[in-house]
C-alpha cells in the first residue's frame, strides 16, 4: 500500500492538515501536497480508468507528464474536467472526482471491453469497423463510441465560470523558461550581462529535480544553492521571477506565451484565476529539464507501476511512498537513486532488475553495498493484472518472457532513460538530433529556431540540451545564459564555474521492449500511450499495414494524441515503429511539437473578455435615451441600433407598423449617427473621388449633395451614400453604417499604395456628429418651430445642405431623403446629440413626433424601391443588376470597377436584375427565397431564376412588398413566378416595378 512516511517531505507542512474529498470520500493531506501526493498518502493508488479498455490506472508520474491521473475538479460553476492530480496543489475543501468509469471507479462495466474485445480494439479499429453499413454510423456506432469513450465530462452549458482571467503584456531581453538549477544558472549568466531577464517556473517551488536527486554545488546541497541563487537573482533590478507560471508556447519573432496560475492553489483568494503573459523577448532560454521514459513490459499500466524518478519525488518532496515493497526495473544508473532513497526512507527494495547485461556503475555498487539485491541482464516479464501491483514475474532481458521467478511487490519503479523536453525548442522550428549515447532526441544547436534576422532566438539549457549529469547541466546552463545575453545584444559575461560533486554514471542501454523478444501475448499488454490505450502491438500492426510515416502512425493508432501529447509515449512509440520498419530511429523521426506545452485554460485565452467587456458595444450619443424608451436592439456590426421602439404591450410588428404609418403621416425621428462620414480634402480630392465613385463627384457644386455608388476593382457594388461638397477642395462622403471603417480603409489603401502622388487627405468624422433624420410631412414645421436657419424649400432645396443654427444648436442640415418623405438630416456635435434629440422630441409633440427604428427605415426605403447595401447586394451584385446605369458615368475615362464591368460575365444580358415582387395574395415573401423555373440542373435540383433580396409587410400599402433579382426581370413585368418556401408552401409573386409608393417623388420634394 501507499502511505505517508514518518519523515521526509521537504515541500509539506506537517503541522497543518487539509481536508479534501475524492469521489466524495473525505481524506487528509498537508499544505504543500499535490492532489497526487495526498491521494497516495491516503492509499488511493487507483485514480481513473483508461480511455478505450477502461483498465484501472494509477499515478505514473509526479509532474505535468502524468497521463493517468486526470480528475474533475470542483463543482457547479467552478467544475473543470481533465485536471492533472500531479499539477494540482492541494487546498482545503478540494473536491475531485475520477473520470471515465461507470458505474464506479472500483467496479467498471467497461472493463469487459478489454476482457472480451481487446483483441478487436486494435490500431485503426475505428477506421476498419465503423465504415459499413453506412446508416449504422449515425444511429449505432457514434452513440456507442460517445458513451463508452471519452475523458471528463464537459461543464454544464447553462453555468458560467465563476472565475475571472486576464492578459498581461510583458517585454524582456531574455526569458528563461524553467526554474530548476539549470534555469537559475542560465538566468544568472544572462542577467550578469545586463539584460532584462524574466524567469518562469511552472511549479510553486524553484529548483526542479536537483534537490531530490542529490549532489552538491559549490559545496552546498542543491536546496541551499537554489535558495542562495534565488536571493541573488531577487536582488537584481533587471530580473523578474514568476513561479506557478509555465512557458506555454514559443512563436515567431520572440513571441512567447506564459500561463500563470494565480488562485488554483487557493480558490478563496480574490482576483483573476489565470493570467496569460503575452511576452515579446529577444532571446528565450528553455531550461525545461528532461522527462523519464517508461519501460514497455507486460502490465506496465497496472496501478503501482511508476516512473522511478517520480517515485523518489513522492518520497523526498511529500514524504509518501507508493508501496512497501518495490521492484526497480531500469536500463540506466539513475534509477538506482530511487532504490537508495526509498531504502533510506524505510521502504523495502525487493530487487533491482538492470536490463544491461553488464549492469550499472558506482550507483549500482552503492546499492549492492546497501544490501539491495541487484540482477543484471534481467527484466520484468509481466506485472500481474489487477487494480494494484501484487506480483512481478522476472525474466531474461534477452529472452521472450519466460518467467524465471515471481516476486511479491506492491509497486514497481521503472526507468527507460531520459528524454530532454524539446517542445519549446521545437515550436518555432528548432530541429533535433539523435543522441546514440543517451538514446534520445536532443536539440541540434546548429539548427535553432531563427528570428527575423536569421539568427537563433531560442537556446536550450541543462537537461533540455541533452546532458543529464549535474556538472554538465550547470555548465551548459551557464553557457546558454551567456549566449542568450549576447544574442540579446549585451556583452557576454562568463560566470565563475561552479564546482559540482555527484555520482558518476555508466552508459545507459536503450531498451524499447522488455524483454527484447517479447511474444505477442506480452506485447499486447505493453502500453506505450497510457491515456489513449496504445500498446506495442498496435504500433507494430500499423507498421505491418504499411504505415511508414510517424505522423500517419500517430493518427492511425492515436499514439501521442491525448491531452499529455505523448510526453511519455513519443520516443518509445517511434522506437517500436523504427524497429518494426527495420529502420533507424533518426530516420523515422518525431511527430511535430505544437503549443501549448501543457493544456492551458480557455479562460486564460479569453482573458478579461467576458460579461460587460466580452465585446465592445458601440453606442451613439442617444443610446441611453433609446434604451429608456423601449428600444428593441439590433446589432449592426459592433453598434446597437433600435430595431423599433416598443410601447406598452405592443408586439415588435405592431410597433414597426405604427412607426411606418406615423412617419409617412406625421413626423419620425431616426438616429442616423452610425452612418459613416468621411471628409476628403485636398487639391486632388475631386479627381480621387471620381475614381472612387462610379459617377462624377468633382463637378458637384458647393452646398449640393449627390448620391453615389462605389465599386470594388472587380466591379461589384461595395457601398453607397450621399456626398456633399463642403468647399473648394473638400467633400464629405456618407457611407453605410457598416462601411464607415471599411471605406475609410479602402480610400487610405488606394491613396497610400496606388495613388500616393495624389494630394488628398481623408479623415473619419463618423463619431464627431450625432446625425438625426427628421422625416415626414411635419419635418419642416418642427425645425421652423425650433427656429434658426431658413429650412424652406427655396432656401434649402432637395439634395442641398447648409450650415446654421437650429434651436440654438450649431447644425449642418442636409435635405436628403431615404424614405421618400420630406426629410432633413441634421448633424450636431456628438456631445450635444442627446440635447438636440430631446429638443426635437419636445418641439415635435404637437406634430405627432415618434422615433423610428431600423426596420421602419428599411420598409420606408423598400416602399420607394431604394436599394440597401447588404440586402440587394451581397458581393456578387453590380450596379447594372440594380438598374443603376444612370449612376455609371460614361464621361469619365476610368473609375474603380469600370473595366471589370466590360468582362463578358458582367456584361451578360441574362444577369438577374432588380424588380419589385408582389405576392398574389398579399402575403409576405420569405426572405432569401429562390424562384424556380423550368427543368432541373445536373444535380437534379430545380433550376432557379431569381431570389428575394428584401421583403417586408408595408402597413401603408397593407400588403407584403418585396424586391428581388430575377433573370430578365425588367422584361417580364406582370409575370407571376413561384418561390417555394422552407415552410412547405409555395409563394406566387407578380413581377412589378420596384417603386411601390409615390412613384413620381412628389412627397419628398415639397
Amino acid at each position: 500500500m501507499s502511505n505517508r512516511l514518518a519523515k521526509q517531505g521537504r515541500l509539506i507542512d506537517r503541522s497543518k492538515q487539509i481536508v479534501f474529498t475524492f469521489n466524495g470520500r473525505s481524506m487528509l493531506g498537508h499544505p504543500g501536497d499535490t492532489l497526487a501526493s495526498a491521494l497516495l498518502a491516503n492509499d488511493q493508488m487507483l485514480v481513473g480508468r483508461s480511455f478505450k479498455y477502461h483498465r484501472p490506472r494509477g499515478l505514473v508520474a509526479s509532474g505535468s507528464e502524468e497521463p493517468n491521473a486526470l480528475v474533475g475538479l470542483g463543482s457547479d460553476n467552478r467544475f473543470e474536467p481533465n485536471q492533472r492530480a500531479t499539477t494540482t496543489e492541494l487546498f482545503e475543501g478540494l473536491a475531485a472526482q475520477s473520470q471515465n468509469h461507470w458505474p464506479s471507479l472500483e467496479f467498471d462495466v467497461g472493463i469487459l471491453n478489454s476482457k472480451l474485445f481487446s483483441r478487436f480494439l486494435t490500431a485503426g479499429f475505428y477506421y476498419k469497423m465503423f465504415i459499413h453499413p453506412k446508416p449504422f454510423w449515425k444511429h449505432i456506432y457514434e452513440p456507442f463510441i460517445r458513451q463508452s469513450a471519452g475523458l471528463g465530462r464537459a461543464p454544464d452549458k447553462e453555468l458560467k465560470d465563476a472565475d475571472t482571467y486576464e492578459h498581461f503584456y510583458f517585454f524582456a531581453d531574455v526569458v528563461v523558461v524553467g526554474g530548476g538549477v539549470a534555469g537559475l544558472q542560465a538566468a544568472k549568466a544572462a542577467a550578469a550581462s545586463g539584460a532584462k531577464v524574466l524567469v518562469m517556473e511552472q511549479n510553486a517551488h524553484w529548483g526542479g529535480r536537483a534537490p531530490v536527486d542529490g549532489g552538491t554545488i559549490d559545496g552546498m546541497t542543491a536546496d541551499a544553492w537554489v535558495a542562495k541563487t534565488l536571493d541573488e537573482l531577487r536582488a537584481m533590478e533587471n530580473v523578474t521571477l514568476r513561479d506557478r507560471t509555465m512557458g506555454a508556447g514559443v512563436y515567431d519573432h520572440g513571441y512567447l506565451l506564459g500561463y500563470e496560475r494565480l488562485t488554483d492553489h487557493d480558490p478563496s483568494k480574490g482576483g483573476p484565476r489565470h493570467r496569460l503573459w503575452r511576452i515579446r523577448t529577444k532571446q528565450i532560454v528553455t531550461a525545461c529539464g528532461a522527462i523519464e521514459r517508461p519501460l514497455s513490459f507486460a502490465g506496465n499500466d497496472v496501478p503501482g507501476v511508476m516512473l522511478a524518478a517520480a517515485m523518489r519525488d513522492y518520497v523526498v518532496n511529500w514524504g509518501v511512498t507508493p508501496g512497501k515493497r518495490v521492484v526497480v526495473a531500469t536500463n540506466n544508473d539513475d534509477a538506482y537513486r530511487t532504490a537508495l532513497i526509498l531504502q533510506k526512507a524505510g521502504v523495502e527494495i525487493a530487487c533491482i532488475l538492470d536490463a544491461r547485461r553488464l549492469g550499472g556503475g558506482a550507483l549500482a555498487a552503492e546499492a549492492r553495498a546497501a544490501g539491495i539485491r541487484v540482477e543484471d541482464g534481467r527484466a520484468i516479464a509481466k506485472v500481474a493484472d489487477g487494480k494494484r501491483v501484487s506480483k512481478v514475474a522476472i525474466c531474461l532481458q534477452d529472452g521472450e518472457g519466460q518467467s524465471i521467478e515471481e516476486i511479491e511487490a506492491d509497486a514497481v519503479a521503472m526507468s527507460g532513460g531520459w528524454s530532454p523536453v524539446v517542445h519549446l525548442w521545437s515550436h518555432c522550428g528548432g530541429k533535433l538530433t539523435w543522441d546514440e549515447t543517451q538514446a534520445h532526441f536532443r536539440p541540434d544547436p546548429s539548427r535553432a529556431p531563427t528570428s527575423h534576422d536569421g539568427k537563433p532566438f531560442v537556446v536550450t539549457a541543462g537537461a533540455s540540451s541533452g546532458p543529464l549529469e549535474l556538472a554538465a547541466v550547470l555548465s551548459d546552463a551557464a553557457q546558454a545564459g551567456a549566449t542568450a545575453g549576447e544574442g540579446a545584444g549585451f556583452p557576454a559575461q562568463n560566470l565563475a564555474a561552479v564546482s559540482v560533486e555527484d555520482m558518476p554514471e555508466t552508459a545507459m542501454e536503450p531498451v524499447w521492449l522488455m524483454p527484447a523478444n517479447a511474444d505477442i501475448q506480452h506485447r499486447m499488454k505493453s502500453w506505450l500511450d497510457y491515456q489513449n490505450d496504445v500498446k506495442v502491438s498496435d504500433v507494430q500492426l500499423a507498421a505491418r499495414e504499411g504505415f511508414e510515416s510517424v505522423e500517419h502512425t500517430k493518427r492511425y493508432t492515436t499514439l501521442g494524441m491525448a491531452t499529455d501529447q505523448g510526453k511519455l509515449s513519443n520516443i518509445n512509440g517511434l522506437a517500436i515503429l523504427a524497429d518494426s520498419l527495420g529502420s533507424e530511429i533518426p530516420q523515422v523521426g518525431t511527430t511535430t511539437f505544437r503549443p501549448p506545452y501543457h493544456p492551458i485554460s480557455m479562460g486564460a485565452i479569453g482573458g478579461e473578455a467576458r460579461g460587460d467587456v466580452f465585446q465592445p458595444l458601440r453606442k451613439t450619443p442617444m443610446y441611453d435615451w433609446h434604451d429608456a424608451n423601449g428600444a428593441d436592439w439590433e446589432p449592426v456590426g459592433h453598434w446597437r441600433r433600435p430595431f423599433t421602439y416598443l410601447q406598452d404591450g405592443e408586439s415588435v410588428q405592431d410597433a414597426v407598423n405604427r412607426e411606418v404609418k406615423n412617419t409617412r403621416e406625421n413626423l419620425g425621428l431616426l438616429d442616423a449617427s452610425t452612418l459613416g462620414k468621411l471628409v476628403v480634402k485636398g487639391p486632388d480630392a475631386g479627381k480621387f473621388l471620381d475614381m472612387m465613385y462610379t459617377n462624377v463627384m468633382s463637378n458637384l457644386k458647393i452646398g449640393k449633395c449627390r448620391y453615389g455608388l462605389m465599386c470594388s476593382e472587380n466591379g461589384f457594388l461595395v457601398d453607397d451614400g450621399v456626398v456633399a461638397r463642403i468647399d473648394e477642395d473638400a467633400w464629405l462622403c456618407h457611407t453605410t453604417t457598416g462601411g464607415a471603417d471599411r471605406i475609410h480603409a479602402h480610400m487610405e489603401e488606394w491613396l497610400q499604395t496606388e495613388w500616393w502622388d495624389m494630394k488628398v487627405f481623408v479623415a473619419n468624422l463618423t463619431e464627431q456628429y450625432a446625425q438625426i433624420a427628421v422625416v415626414g410631412p411635419n419635418a419642416r414645421k418642427v425645425l421652423e418651430k425650433l427656429g434658426g436657419m431658413d429650412v424652406s424649400k427655396e432656401a434649402l432645396p432637395f439634395m442641398e445642405w447648409r450650415d446654421g443654427e437650429i434651436g440654438g444648436f450649431n447644425a449642418r442640415a442636409y435635405r436628403i431623403s431615404f424614405s421618400g418623405e420630406l426629410s432633413y438630416e441634421i448633424a450636431v456635435a456628438a456631445s450635444e446629440g442627446q440635447a438636440f434629440w430631446s429638443a426635437l422630441m419636445e418641439a415635435g409633440k404637437e406634430f405627432g413626433v415618434m422615433p423610428y427604428g431600423t426596420e421602419c427605415l428599411h420598409i420606408l426605403r423598400a416602399e420607394k424601391g431604394f436599394i440597401m447595401i447588404g440586402d440587394e447586394t451581397d458581393g456578387t451584385v453590380i450596379p447594372q443588376d440594380l438598374n443603376l446605369h444612370w449612376a455609371l458615368s460614361k464621361k469619365k475615362d476610368d473609375y474603380l470597377g469600370k473595366r471589370a464591368h466590360t468582362r463578358s460575365h458582367m456584361a451578360d444580358p441574362d444577369r438577374w436584375k432588380l424588380v419589385g415582387l408582389e405576392t398574389v395574395d398579399g402575403s409576405v415573401l420569405p426572405d432569401g427565397a429562390y424562384a424556380v423555373g423550368n427543368g432541373v440542373n445536373g444535380n437534379g435540383q430545380k433550376n432557379t431564376i431569381g431570389r428575394v433580396t428584401s421583403t417586408y409587410f408595408s402597413s401603408n400599402l397593407n400588403r407584403g412588398i418585396a424586391m428581388g433579382l430575377v433573370k430578365n426581370g425588367p422584361k417580364r413585368m406582370g409575370e407571376v413566378i413561384s418561390f417555394p418556401g422552407t415552410d412547405g408552401k409555395t409563394y406566387e409573386a407578380k413581377i412589378v416595378d420596384p417603386v411601390f409608393y409615390d412613384k413620381d417623388g412628389e412627397k419628398q420634394n415639397v
Binding site: 503584456y169 523578474t240 480574490g270 460587460d612 467587456v613 471628409v679 485636398g682 487627405f761 450635444e832
Partner: protein, 189 residues
C-alpha cells in the same frame, strides 16, 4: 455649449489605479507634411508646441501635440478653444496641402493615475510600460483590448487615454476590470 456632455459624464473608479473621465476635451486632427516648415510654424504659433518626435507628445501651456503617423498630428486643447484654434490653423495653413478638423466630439478621454497605472494599462495594451522604456512624453497609438486607442504619459505618472466616443463606456469598463484591486501583477511596483 451648455448642452455638451462627455460620454462618461464624470465617471470614476478607484482600484489598482484611478480611472477617471477627463470630461470634454478639445481635439484637432491635423494632417499634412510634418517636415514642412510652414506646418511647423503654424503649429508653433497656434499651440506653442513644436512638432513631436515619432511616438512622442509635445506639451506647452495646456496644449498637447501628439505624433499620430508620419502625416498626422493630434492637437489636444480646451474644448472651448477648438473652433478658434481650427480657424487659426486653417488660415495659417491656407495654400498648404493640409487638413485641419475638429474631432473633439468623436472621442472619449480618460485618465489613469496612481501606482498601478503602468500595470493596469499593460493588461490591455501591447506596449512595454517599464519605466526605462515608457517615459513622460511618450505616446502610443495602439489598441486597448479589442478597440483602437492612444495614450501618453503626462506628469506625475498620469496616463491620458483617448478612444472613440462610441466605445468610451467599453474602455472605462475594461480599465475597471484591469484595475480590480485583487489583480495586482507586481512587476512595475
Amino acid at each position: 455649449m451648455s448642452n455638451a456632455v462627455s460620454v462618461l459624464n464624470g465617471a470614476s473608479f478607484d482600484g489598482l489605479a484611478e480611472v477617471k473621465d477627463a470630461g470634454l476635451v478639445g481635439m484637432i486632427t491635423l494632417r499634412g507634411d510634418l517636415s514642412s516648415k510652414a506646418l511647423a510654424k503654424a503649429v508653433l504659433n497656434v499651440t506653442d508646441c513644436t512638432i513631436p518626435d515619432v511616438r512622442k507628445v509635445a506639451a506647452v501651456n495646456g496644449n498637447t501635440v501628439a505624433w499620430m503617423s508620419p502625416d498626422e498630428l493630434l492637437i489636444v486643447t480646451d474644448y472651448q478653444n477648438v473652433d478658434a484654434m481650427v480657424a487659426k490653423l486653417s488660415s495659417a495653413l491656407a495654400g498648404e496641402h493640409a487638413l485641419v478638423v475638429n474631432v473633439s466630439d468623436a472621442r472619449s478621454m480618460l485618465t489613469l493615475s496612481g501606482s498601478g497605472t503602468r500595470e493596469v494599462l499593460a493588461k490591455v495594451a501591447p506596449v512595454d510600460f517599464s519605466a526605462e522604456q515608457f517615459q513622460p512624453g511618450d505616446f502610443r497609438r495602439t489598441r486597448l483590448a479589442q478597440v483602437a486607442g492612444a495614450f501618453w504619459l503626462g506628469e506625475a505618472e498620469q496616463m491620458h487615454i483617448i478612444c472613440f466616443r462610441s466605445v468610451g463606456q467599453y474602455v472605462f469598463d475594461l480599465l475597471k476590470v484591469a484595475a480590480h484591486s485583487d489583480a495586482v501583477v507586481g512587476v512595475y511596483t
